[in-house]
């Protein structure tokens, strides 16, 4: 432990003085951090206070809905930049800022002089309170696939939790930035990285691994918040004992019942390198004590190498959060052919379906189907296409199995044309938001199809001879992105806005009946949640692929924050010197975003907006 700790050093910038006069103006009842801790406040009560945004998706149900309503449809047009901050690394900015008790915490990508640096800022003024920089192993950069993003931090009990790209979980004192413990969760030498935002639940903090392209075996791991010790780890593939499948496991469908299906549904030993990584969103239902998450696609991509269903990849799991025991599972795409992993978020809401209130989980699938599942049992209540789908013909609600279109099955050296959705799916990691006021799900997503060839000449000498034969392009209509409102009860799209580029940012819904999202061509937009009318937009320094959040500063003012900085899988063409003329670069995404450098380069700026011009933050704080 001590040895590991020495690999990290924090750079604490002490908060020398707080603008006390400023704080005196506070008219919002937000208890101090110390008060919260003394009452051993739970995360649930932290987000019950509308001022806070204490986890990436704001609440355990993954709604990304804020009860704040200072900013409303009639005044959103007055939003102005209040302050901004550079995180110092011009790579894909996918992180959600957290806000607890007037302090904003944000993490940088794994690049620049201080990879995965964490910053604590006064959420109203932008003043830097402290920063922390892990000291990663230099070899780490050569291992990570794709872009070196972080999707955010976690907070609980006065601690900030950072999952680094090179597989460490770090606990920091939220007040000082002091390092409390460092635990190694994975190994870059095995191709493992971590990009997801951890989730804090019941004294634990959880994260899973990324790196499905590297022949890794997926897992989610729970770490004890106090000691930093690993509490449990659930693998996605392998024998039941590793997947934590036991007597409590009751999947709804018969084909997912049986012993060691995580081994039996694979060719000999292939589960050991079978992917199923966990790099998206965790959700938690405190009443059922269930943790929910989806696993990534099976590896390798060449599906000929892995006949069988390849359980438990592309699967939604429900687990007991205390010991990790699986309660049920649902595999969305057995024997995935198209990189349609299912790490996408699960939104936990109660819906009136056929006159009955059901505890459901809404899962906007990468495979193009918007699933509504009973979250107590894993039964699929509905699964409807929300984007163009040509490779599946539907989901059989009796068996729960998706129906692949046989004629689209990849054949070596045959180009399969018009594969929709393309490998990134109809929606990737970019999270949706749910408004309990409109009862609509707001979905940022892409609209891409692809020509797909499983192989070409391949020279391999332990080297990346990337000649991916995936060519992506805009789906029907010619646009590549969409932001839509979906009614999961009516099972229909209510309104939609098309975008020329994939909408790779997250979204946010507020009690002001506004939803926010950003575009890769540098627009940050506020939209009427009921009608889809664009009410306001700002042009940022770089394209947006971040997660917008909202909170109250200690001045009682409602702020909207989002990181600007294009990147991620679709954005490497703009920030990582991938030749835009090579259509099949970046696993085929280059072809779909060839024109991105016409609109933006990379960036690293946190933008914070508030109502102007009379907003308190426009006046300099006296010190």
């Amino acid at each position: 432990m001590r040895k590991l700790r020495s690999r990290y050093a924090y750079v604490a910038v002490p908060l020398t003085c707080v603008a006390s006069a400023f704080i005196a103006d506070v008219n919002v009842a937000t208890p101090s951090l110390a008060q919260q801790q003394s009452r051993s406040e739970t995360l649930t009560s932290l987000y019950a206070n509308a001022a806070n945004w204490p986890m990436a998706s704001r609440d355990y149900a993954n709604t990304r809905f804020s009860p704040l309503d200072q900013i409303r449809t009639e005044n959103v047009g007055q939003l102005k930049l209040a302050w901004s901050f550079s995180v110092g690394a011009n790579r894909g900015q996918e992180a959600a800022p957290l806000v607890v008790d007037g302090t904003l915490y944000v993490v940088a990508p794994y690049d620049g002089p201080h990879p995965n640096q964490v910053f604590a800022l006064d959420a109203a003024t932008g003043e830097l309170k402290w920063s922390y920089a892990p000291k990663p192993t230099p070899a780490a950069k050569g291992v990570a696939c794709c872009d070196v993003v972080s999707r955010g931090l976690a907070y609980d009990n006065g601690k900030i939790f950072l999952a680094t790209l090179d597989d460490y979980m770090v606990a920091l004192d939220a007040r000082t930035g002091n390092e409390l413990w460092v635990t190694k969760l994975g190994d870059i030498n095995l191709g493992e990285t971590i990009t997801m935002a951890p989730l804090a639940v019941k004294g634990k903090v959880l994260a899973g691994n990324s790196g499905g392209e590297m022949g890794v075996r997926g897992w989610v791991t729970a770490v004890d918040q106090a000691s930093g010790k690993i509490a449990w780890r659930a693998y996605s593939t392998g024998p039941d004992s590793d997947v934590l499948i036991g007597a409590d496991f009751k999947p709804h469908y018969d084909w997912m019942k049986g012993k060691d299906l995580g081994v039996q549904s694979w060719p000999a030993d292939r589960w050991r390198i079978g992917g199923g990584t966990v790099w998206g969103w965790l959700a938690y239902d405190p009443d059922l004590n269930h943790l929910y998450y989806g696993t990534a696609n099976p590896g390798p991509w060449n599906a000929d190498q892995r006949p069988g269903d390849n359980l438990w990849t592309s699967t939604i799991f429900a687990r007991d959060v205390d010991a990790g025991a699986a309660k049920w599972a649902y595999q969305a795409s057995p024997h995935d052919l198209w990189d349609h992993d299912e790490i996408n978020e699960n939104v936990l809401v109660d819906l009136d379906i056929n006159g009955e209130t059901r505890k459901v989980l809404i899962h906007p699938g990468r495979n193009g189907y918007l699933y509504v599942l009973d979250r107590t049992s894993g039964e699929v209540l509905s699964a409807d296409t929300y984007d163009t789908v040509t490779v599946y013909s539907g989901v059989d609600l009796k068996t729960g199995r998706i129906k692949p279109v046989e004629s689209m099955t990849p054949v070596l050296d045959k180009t399969i044309e018009n594969v929709c959705p393309a490998p990134p799916g109809a929606k990737d990691w970019q999270p949706t938001a749910w408004s309990p006021r409109t009862k609509l799900l707001y979905v940022p997503h892409q609209h891409l199809c692809a020509n797909f060839r499983t192989s070409e000449v391949s020279y391999i000498a332990g080297t990346p001879f990337v000649g991916a034969t995936v060519d992506m392009y805009a789906g029907p209509g010619g646009h590549r992105g969409e932001f839509m409102a979906w009614d999961p009860v009516k099972r229909a799209k209510v309104w939609s806005l098309t975008e020329k580029l994939p909408v790779w940012s997250g979204t946010l819904a507020t009690a002001g009946d506004i939803v926010f999202y950003g575009t890769m061509d540098r627009k940050f937009k506020a939209v009427d949640a009921k009608t889809g009318h664009v009410l306001w937009q700002a042009t940022g320094p770089s394209g947006f692929i971040g997660q917008p959040v909202t909170y109250l500063g200690n001045d009682g003012v409602q702020y909207i924050a989002i990181l600007s900085g294009v990147g991620g899988w679709p954005g490497v063409v703009a920030n990582a010197e991938v030749d835009p003329r090579v259509r099949n670069g970046a696993l085929g995404f280059t072809g779909a975003t060839q024109d991105l450098p016409l609109y933006t380069v990379g960036g690293s700026t946190l933008l914070v907006f508030s109502l102007g011009p009379s907003g308190a933050t426009n006046a300099p704080a006296s010190r």
Binding site: A139, K141, G142, V143, A144, C145, C146, D187, I188, N189, L190, G191, G212, E213, M214, G215, P267, A268, D269, R270, I273, G299, P300, W301, N302, D304, Q305, R306, P307, L412, D413, F452, R453, T454, S455, E456, V457, S458, Y459, I460, A461, G462, T463, P464, F465, V466, G467, A468, T469, V470, A576, E577, V578, D579, V582, L587
Partner: protein, 274 residues
């Protein structure tokens, strides 16, 4: 006389252009090579790979000091090293490899079968029916829809249950992770491996049990999959002057280069008919 003058003029012009086009290289006294620190038989941080030795030869011929930038060869390697201007040259890329400007080939090798000599397995074709009875090891690449050519063919032929995949990236804490596939043959964990020749040939030199290497034959039916590749050095696109000098060295020193490559057991293809 007139002809001689023209020639002289050309030489002067070429020299001038050469100087102007890559002043940084002329000024710098080292040849910067980007390489994997743990990828024998090609390269390692101790300089024990054949590509290390070839790089040393090249540097000497250029009259430069050899320096390395080490990075694991994963996706983004070229982008993050050569294209990021951290080095001037990468060794061992397939001739015509798109992201770089490639030199003339300096060796050609092919995919082979490896088995323990004491097993007396003389399989040389992927069509051999006996393969169905063996546990066959292959390298799996993972993403990009790519795998090694033998892995693709075995899948096409319906052989999957008896095929064992070894990820090419392997466990990077161990030396030369891709060699684990051939060590599995030595350990009798698998009966036969189908792998890239340099891995097999090198491991055969160091194996504690004698290994049998058979070039994979009868591959034309599996086109467009190829089983032999010309290998070149790569420079940044547009760095024609350096590429031309490397071409000249490869031509001048072909015998020495071949001797180094073959001293590592690399099965070198003399025929040019893929």
């Amino acid at each position: 006389m007139r002809r001689a003058l023209l020639l002289l003029a050309l030489i002067i012009a070429t020299a001038a252009v050469g100087r102007a086009s890559w002043p940084t290289h002329e000024a710098a006294d080292d040849l910067r090579v980007c390489a994997d620190p743990n990828n024998l038989p090609f390269s390692n941080a101790a300089g024990e790979g054949f590509e290390n030795r070839l790089a040393k030869l090249i540097a000497e011929e250029l009259g430069k000091k050899l320096s390395y930038v080490w990075q694991a060869q994963r996706r983004g390697f070229i982008r993050n090293t050569l294209k990021a201007d951290l080095c001037d040259i990468v060794m061992g890329v397939p001739t015509g490899y798109g992201p770089v400007e490639t030199t003339a080939p300096y060796y050609r090798s092919r995919y082979v079968f490896v088995s323990r000599r004491d097993r007396d397995i003389d399989v040389a074709s992927l069509k051999d029916a006996r393969l169905r009875e063996f546990r066959i090891g292959v390298h799996l690449i993972g993403d990009d829809g790519m795998n090694t050519p033998p892995a693709h063919v075995l899948a096409q032929e319906g052989m999957v249950e008896n095929v064992v995949g070894f990820t090419i990236y392997g466990d990077y804490r161990e030396p030369a992770p891709p060699l684990r596939l051939i060590k599995a043959v030595e350990d009798d964990a698998i009966d036969i491996a189908a792998t890239w020749g340099p891995f097999a040939g090198y491991e055969a030199l160091h194996s504690r049990v004698p290994l049998r290497i058979e070039a994979i034959e009868e591959t034309s039916d599996f086109a467009p999959l190829r089983f032999s590749f010309d290998i070149s050095m790569g420079v940044r696109k547009g760095d024609h002057a350096l590429r031309r000098r490397l071409d000249q060295i490869i031509s001048d020193k072909s015998a020495e280069i071949r001797a180094i490559v073959e001293s590592y057991g690399v099965p070198v293809d003399h025929a040019r008919n893929g």
